[in-house]
Symmetry: D3
Amino acid sequence: MSPIPHNIIQSQVSQALEEDIGSGDVTASLIPHNNQSTAHLICREEAILCGQDWFNEVFKQLDKSVKLNWHVQDGERLSNEQCICTISGHSQTILTGERTAMNFLQTLSGTASITQTYVAQLKQSSENQIKLLDTRKTIPGFREAQKYAVRCGGGYNHRHGLFDGILIKENHIMAAGSITNAVKSARMNSSHTLKIEVEIETLDELQEALTARADILLLDNMDNEMLQQAVELNQQFKQHQAKLEVSGDITIARLSKLALINIDYISTGAITKNINATDFSLRFEHFNLENLNSCPQIN
Amino acid sequence: MSPIPHNIIQSQVSQALEEDIGSGDVTASLIPHNNQSTAHLICREEAILCGQDWFNEVFKQLDKSVKLNWHVQDGERLSNEQCICTISGHSQTILTGERTAMNFLQTLSGTASITQTYVAQLKQSSENQIKLLDTRKTIPGFREAQKYAVRCGGGYNHRHGLFDGILIKENHIMAAGSITNAVKSARMNSSHTLKIEVEIETLDELQEALTARADILLLDNMDNEMLQQAVELNQQFKQHQAKLEVSGDITIARLSKLALINIDYISTGAITKNINATDFSLRFEHFNLENLNSCPQIN
Amino acid sequence: MSPIPHNIIQSQVSQALEEDIGSGDVTASLIPHNNQSTAHLICREEAILCGQDWFNEVFKQLDKSVKLNWHVQDGERLSNEQCICTISGHSQTILTGERTAMNFLQTLSGTASITQTYVAQLKQSSENQIKLLDTRKTIPGFREAQKYAVRCGGGYNHRHGLFDGILIKENHIMAAGSITNAVKSARMNSSHTLKIEVEIETLDELQEALTARADILLLDNMDNEMLQQAVELNQQFKQHQAKLEVSGDITIARLSKLALINIDYISTGAITKNINATDFSLRFEHFNLENLNSCPQIN
Amino acid sequence: MSPIPHNIIQSQVSQALEEDIGSGDVTASLIPHNNQSTAHLICREEAILCGQDWFNEVFKQLDKSVKLNWHVQDGERLSNEQCICTISGHSQTILTGERTAMNFLQTLSGTASITQTYVAQLKQSSENQIKLLDTRKTIPGFREAQKYAVRCGGGYNHRHGLFDGILIKENHIMAAGSITNAVKSARMNSSHTLKIEVEIETLDELQEALTARADILLLDNMDNEMLQQAVELNQQFKQHQAKLEVSGDITIARLSKLALINIDYISTGAITKNINATDFSLRFEHFNLENLNSCPQIN
Amino acid sequence: MSPIPHNIIQSQVSQALEEDIGSGDVTASLIPHNNQSTAHLICREEAILCGQDWFNEVFKQLDKSVKLNWHVQDGERLSNEQCICTISGHSQTILTGERTAMNFLQTLSGTASITQTYVAQLKQSSENQIKLLDTRKTIPGFREAQKYAVRCGGGYNHRHGLFDGILIKENHIMAAGSITNAVKSARMNSSHTLKIEVEIETLDELQEALTARADILLLDNMDNEMLQQAVELNQQFKQHQAKLEVSGDITIARLSKLALINIDYISTGAITKNINATDFSLRFEHFNLENLNSCPQIN
Amino acid sequence: MSPIPHNIIQSQVSQALEEDIGSGDVTASLIPHNNQSTAHLICREEAILCGQDWFNEVFKQLDKSVKLNWHVQDGERLSNEQCICTISGHSQTILTGERTAMNFLQTLSGTASITQTYVAQLKQSSENQIKLLDTRKTIPGFREAQKYAVRCGGGYNHRHGLFDGILIKENHIMAAGSITNAVKSARMNSSHTLKIEVEIETLDELQEALTARADILLLDNMDNEMLQQAVELNQQFKQHQAKLEVSGDITIARLSKLALINIDYISTGAITKNINATDFSLRFEHFNLENLNSCPQIN
């Protein structure tokens, strides 16, 4: 089985190919039909690899005879100029699929890499096991792929959508009348398999949410001092301790301070709403299939 | 008609909604069915607006009774704290659609805004009418939307895919035997409505491509001095002048220098392969429909 | 917004219409194009109504000019011979759509009605607020519709699929080595918004699961006496009480006994894997639009 | 080729998997990726098997390496505790696909089994070759699958939809003015490959329909005595004998009486609008591939 | 309701628009967004109109504000230079949709017109009510549209596909062993709503098929004399008369002879496998909405 | 890779099969499941072959075990009674797929053959290398297939749709104010990879278009004499020569004259808007697999 349901990968790849190829690759006719190539996929910077299944699927949908031999796996660290995959088959197919395959790889590896930067900073600063979480701030249509990239980078996934997590925000509270009412109503009407998370901005709201026995508190836009107080109030609450998640103004710089506070999760939209594509390059060796499965010497 | 074919917008929105809502919004039940809200869409930084049609389509697919009143149009400049749209209708719908609608807007406005930064730098540095072009390095499945965002930011589109432009690259030349053969073969076999562009890296290649009467030359990874020589060689070529496009190592910093060289186009993947989401916020006024269509006072 | 995401309803209805109409209704040509009818939808037995949105969508997809006027709402109790909806419009449309619309209504009302029978029996037997839950044993492709029908009948939904609830069964435990390991692993790797449920068959397993702090215990195939012991062990466990769900051999007859045990949930596949279609009838008044919106006299 | 067009099976299975798996099986991560299992599919009651192609397709869509070895074929009679299939492959795949595969099998075998009960009762009561027919009262979206199940149970299919059979009902007759006009109009306008069936409720209508040379008469809601008269009138009609189909109030109990009347077909919605799922169970043997293709001893 | 199921029309139009517009109409930007036009659809030769619903759907999918005012209806006879529809709305939309809309109209009117030529020839030659039938020799993906065009031209439809008619051909007979066996088997296993048609090439086969009580005989590739004998043998057969359908070498020239033979149907692939597009033209009146709904003077 | 993007072929074939098979082939049950056949595909007239990939895809989608052995390739010339392919596999599959597969082949070979007739006439009349072009006047939904057929017949493709070529027609010129404005605006706003083509009807317009430096001139509805003048004016224009395309009233008869004029392209809708299906026949050898891969003796 795929890391994410395979029908999602198939559908994303087929749409990307349609978008790029449309009525046909008008330059491909310059390449003789039976011309074969070997090409080496090179990473041009330090990064975390993510997107193999999408890259493979691009060539599978174009031409099942193309062979891909990966030298590293998703989630592994790549160094500059590292050869990560050797591709062999019809030159036409490789050239036609190249851009689409690379677009998946560079986008997803970009997300995995920035996630890993956050996670490494967090681990370096403390031995607290604070988990870095993503959000629903994603590129439309690409969420499950990006959430997989977050996992490849060492992060964890918050809810995948509105369907698999209850998050009571300011407007839900206003509509329900109070945090107490909102939590009670959620517990009554929602699936018993889902925890109840409440977004709070003040310590009074924290007290009310704890009393209502919310399972998770999302501490939004609090400064470090206020977060420390929130942690203490939660610990002092006898009957029930909630999990604490922190969001708002999460920068790499601030992580070393946050790492010292006894919270459970930090969530940030920045790792998925922004993209910094990883730089990859595909280098061809023409008419020579002997080196298949081995990387070229790089000096 | 839409700025891009409407079926593309419909399909992207319906996929994004399925991805986010799946089997249902489990928190929405906290909001009474008949509760109505007015909400104001605020931009939180300077930016170029892009994505109205996607934003509108999100709410149209969820609930046709929601009303949106835009105060600016795609392509216009936004200032920090500017109210750009007033939304009115069922609170449930607005809350359920909020994230998906915002994800489109923040992604596309991000692309329009960075494009505008490049274009402004280019215009400021020279009166040459050099056009900034995008590439095929895009987020998979999102290309047409991103290319529209580039236009909103004042950029121009290179080919949309492999189907609407001939770009002869190094591998095509190797397969054809020479630039001369490649251009000849392309002219013979391709649609007469398409120009022929050749990627070149040396001045010798430029001479050969001019002699073969390529319509456009993509000068890849040349430094400014070499570009200047290329421009002169092209001008001296009697029978035929090609259009000149420059790519490789295009940074904001370098644009002021490039602007002084007499080239026609600069193309860069950075404006579409990287995303820096624009910051928007949706602010609710509950139970009060009177202010519909006007923005709140902001002090 | 619809009770379930509208795209699911649209898609189910369009497939059902394609299945029934295919290349066309070959008997419809007997009805003149401009012939108009009023028809009354009658329930032929006591039941709980479910399926209005699907019924409406059938006619909307065929011909937007057909008008439907409902006299009761989903979730309400119907009596024998009650008129529940008046339909008016082109006779051709009403006859062509009749069977498909009825198939949705009879299937979903059947599920709502049997659910209501279980729930009523449970409420009558005790004041315990035990919730009746459905399962994933559903008609393929029809799950969200059936889960909505369960809610209409007064039941509650267990997880909608494998994506929104963790249920550790015997085979997961075998693979993980022990209940302790399985719960620990699930807590480490799964979304923090999801509770952890463990299926257990013995009191020893119950002790281990409580110690591992599973959130919910699924007590499978235990007799009433053993269930009573399980409840007591859970209450005596100091640090943590789990929610208790009972499954296996759930019959109407047994509900009165189960209602006296202090459990939280009873789940049963019977309400969704079996269907007992409710009996509805559509009665036409031809060529007479005067009685629109009012039901005929029934004596 | 499949028993029904394979695209229908593919589409139903892919929808059922999407419905169940959605963004991913959150419990599957407890099972190591490379863990292999053998599992035995056991029938827990007497039944007629139906649904192999759907069951196979579920695993094929998830993971082509899973092997299924069936010991009986669709349409065969199953006994309680009979092992009917041995499945071998990745434990993750088998657990993820189990419920969806079982849902198809239990639903379709339920329809085949109830059909077989009707057919057996009919055959036992008489040597008349009366065929048991289904109707268009089916689960929406599942009709072709159910009609195949009816065939597996020994029944026959009435028309598959509005497209492959002319059935003139009361409302068509009213619109056409008379049975005579309706039959004439149908003969004029419909495909010459389709027979013309008329629903009648009285013996006068039968006379008129015979005179109009309807090919099939659907005798609806007639008691046994009236049916006997209808048979005799039909036999006495010189120029033309119609085929006689009986519907309305068809119970198992009444079949022994109906079997003695010289009719051609009995049609009933009960076998497809109601579902009584057959009880199957999947039993795992972990880490042991040796018994593949053979069933375990059951004592 | 549409003349054929509306989902077929929607899907054909949306595919045709995607095929033609793809990533966008690159010439449309020459037309100002708010420019309005009136255009007149003119027929350039004598023809039968067919395809209004497809023509309308093209503009509806592009822009609901375009208005179409038809002056004739599908199935009516058109003369050279006749104005048949006035279109008014955004000039961009009309120009973008023009070709796709015209392609539907010219193709379908072509089929209707050639059909009408056959039918007129048949009617002129005799008062026999021989029906002209189409076949399954159609443009792939366009069959239902073409069969509708055949009806507009005065022809009748043979079966729509393999699903709604039994046609026993030479290979079926060989597999079944004999015509007798084949008819018997078909009667046993097929829906009772379908007639049984047998393709025969000799008079011996005709005798066998009549004895087996086939409902329809397809007399393939017989000359007129042999057809006359076939008609007589059928009339002399006491117990049963079959309907007689003639196919093979059906030309306009031969129709006058065939019309004198007492057969029931003539079927020919020529009217749907060949296309002779009708010539239409769209003439614009710019910037002038006053003449909407009236045709221009043509002198 | 396929001659045209494979997803287009897959989708066209699956739609054609659904259209023909629908709920199932009701005559197929006459053929035993395990019956195997060899069949020979024969061409019944002189023609150019086109459509192999579609023909293959039909059988692949039905049953992967069917084997096809082609004796000629797309684009090759066929003679009457030539055996072009041998098919071997389940008789049921071959019979069920026959019509759909043949419909693709006969339609596309028809287009290739008529194109070849035009091209041959052009070549025979002159040594000018005038290319024959198709247009956007195609069967809706079938354009890419038809454009491939044109290439098989020796023709060339004009733009594939509105997305890959700029063609400024009369209405665009009216909206832009003049040819000069229209060309300028197109050059400003369109992709630099696309040439600019202008449709002109007079020599004055030709002068204006040349002055505006249009890349291609579409000389519409000019007689041969005026065409000759247009060629001369173009040659005399110092700064710039445009490519010349001729359309309007293009008949086989006129080609020999046109071939003598020094134009570049001739475009005609007739080769794709009209269809003259090529006659193919499928001949079965039953129960005999020995002759697989060899054609039968034809005398």
